[in-house]
């Protein structure tokens, strides 16, 4: 347990020591998105009856920031340690596979939640979304951050250089999050793109999260929970297995 606690605390301290970059910058970015999109679209678009576009956008932006930061935390920590070589100090001690896995993932979840809370707080200036089902909000926030933290862990372990990690981030994570209904309700899309969105697990995470706020969403929260849960489980299995086998960590 002490090993887990120490690694968890070390990972928290790692991002907290550079919090301008890891916490404040994403909050500012999300606020800018909101400022611009709300200014342009608020009077033209009403995603659900009685829901203003600005209010609709806030949970999506908060979740997008959470997902991207949870991913960044594990992936950049692992790849930096791998490339500078100091990962050896984590690999030599008797940490169990589970301690290793859980410490990295939970620290990234904490960063995701802090960023998400920050985005929500700042955007309260623009609009106050209702919170119909706080438990759904919390469940989807935690699941979304955990899934992306694990994906970041996998990417960090897989990538041999920063360029490969950037490719993973720009060609997989960015499209998955941007095309998941952060900025729109997928019901507004043509049927083909609606069908494509239905295959994007991130869509279910954001949709379920939004249901928690408005009590309405594109799909049932139970379906969203099932899909997100299955994705999280599959990723957790894969991530844990990679650590256990020592893939690209122990040669």
């Amino acid at each position: 347990m002490q090993g887990f606690q120490t690694l968890f605390y070390k990972e928290l301290l790692r991002f907290w020591k550079v919090s301008f970059q890891t916490v404040l910058a994403p909050i500012l970015t999300a606020s800018l998105y909101l400022l611009i999109f709300a200014h342009v679209l608020d009077s033209h678009v009403q995603p659900y009856p009685g829901v203003r576009y600005t209010a609709f956008l806030i949970p999506g932006l908060a979740m997008m920031s959470m997902l991207q930061n949870a991913f960044s935390n594990t992936s950049s920590s692992i790849i930096q340690s791998k490339i500078t070589g100091n990962l050896v100090f984590i690999l030599l001690p008797p940490l169990s596979h589970l301690e290793f896995f859980a410490a990295y993932v939970l620290a990234a979840v904490v960063r995701g939640i802090i960023v998400g809370l920050g985005v929500l707080l700042v955007t309260l200036v623009f609009a106050i979304p209702p919170v119909q089902h706080p438990l759904w909000v919390l469940v989807f926030a935690l699941m979304g951050c955990a899934a992306m933290a694990i994906l970041g862990l996998i990417a960090g372990i897989w990538a041999d250089k920063f360029d490969q990690l950037a490719a993973f981030q720009n060609f997989l994570i960015m499209p998955l999050t941007f095309l998941s209904g952060v900025f729109y309700s997928i019901h507004s899309l043509p049927p083909f793109w609606q069908a494509v969105s239905n295959w994007n697990p991130v869509f279910y995470i954001i949709d379920g999260f939004r249901f928690g706020f408005f009590g309405v969403a594109d799909v049932s929260p139970w379906l969203a929970l099932s899909v997100s849960g299955a994705a999280l489980f599959a990723l957790a299995l894969l991530g844990y297995q990679l650590i256990k086998s020592g893939y690209k960590l122990r040669h």
Binding site: Q2, G3, L13, G85, F89, P94
Partner: protein
Amino acid sequence: MSAIEFNQVVKHYGQFQALKSVSFNVEEGDFFALLGPNGAGKTTLISILGGLAHATSGAVRIMGHDVATDYRNARRAVGIVPQELVFDPFFNVRETLQFQSGYFGLKKNDDWIDEILASLGLTDKAHSNMRALSGGMKRRVMVAQALVHKPPVIVLDEPTAGVDVELRQTLWQFIRRLNQQGSTIVLTTHYLEEAEELCNRIAMLKQGQLIALEDKATLLNKGKSRTLRIKLLDGTLPASLQPLVITQAGQQYDLKLSDVAALDDLLAQIKQAGVTLRDIEVNKPDLEDIFVETMHGTAA
């Protein structure tokens, strides 16, 4: 029980065979030198010991714990100082050592951390960020990191490469003390005089194979070659002996003899040439000579 057991350890990296069935033991209390040229497999062997690499086949045990099946107990029993100079730039020296203690399950370890810091001359650097330290200081911190959990077995992979004299002395003084207190030490180095001075047992690896494993005294007695130092009173060294000359200073020559038996023939040639000797001295080989002989396959 041996401190470390290597049992038919084989390691392949793709087509390349880094270790070809290496077996030997390091006994408790040994100060053990693992020698060999670059690429002989020393670091691969140490990586397998620390769980940084998996053996393709064979078994490795540390204090009786298998490094694969009982990896947590095996890792608790060993402290490894890696060869590459690496550090975490986010933290200062004390934080680095506190984290390392925590990874080994130790919560309150500051008394021992203070002792290590003092022994390695790091006390006044405790609050310096790792980035601000010189190379030698970073190396000391890496040694300290390997010792936070008071491991019974300590492995140092070329700890003195590119390090100044002062650190070498501080380091060896400290490591010697740990050895006297019962720790088992394994050392790889290219400075053979260090191994000769410090170690009681010596293994040599070449191209992934163990080619020598002896007590130091036995090994040093095994070397067949001798260095002969002669001073001439008059005359010059016969031309037939010129190929044997290692160094020459005035009338003093150091000659390389393949073995003691060659001495008779050499003296006969000198006598025949009518040269008078003023002084003669035969020297046994040191570890470096034996290392070279062994690596070239000329040792017994």
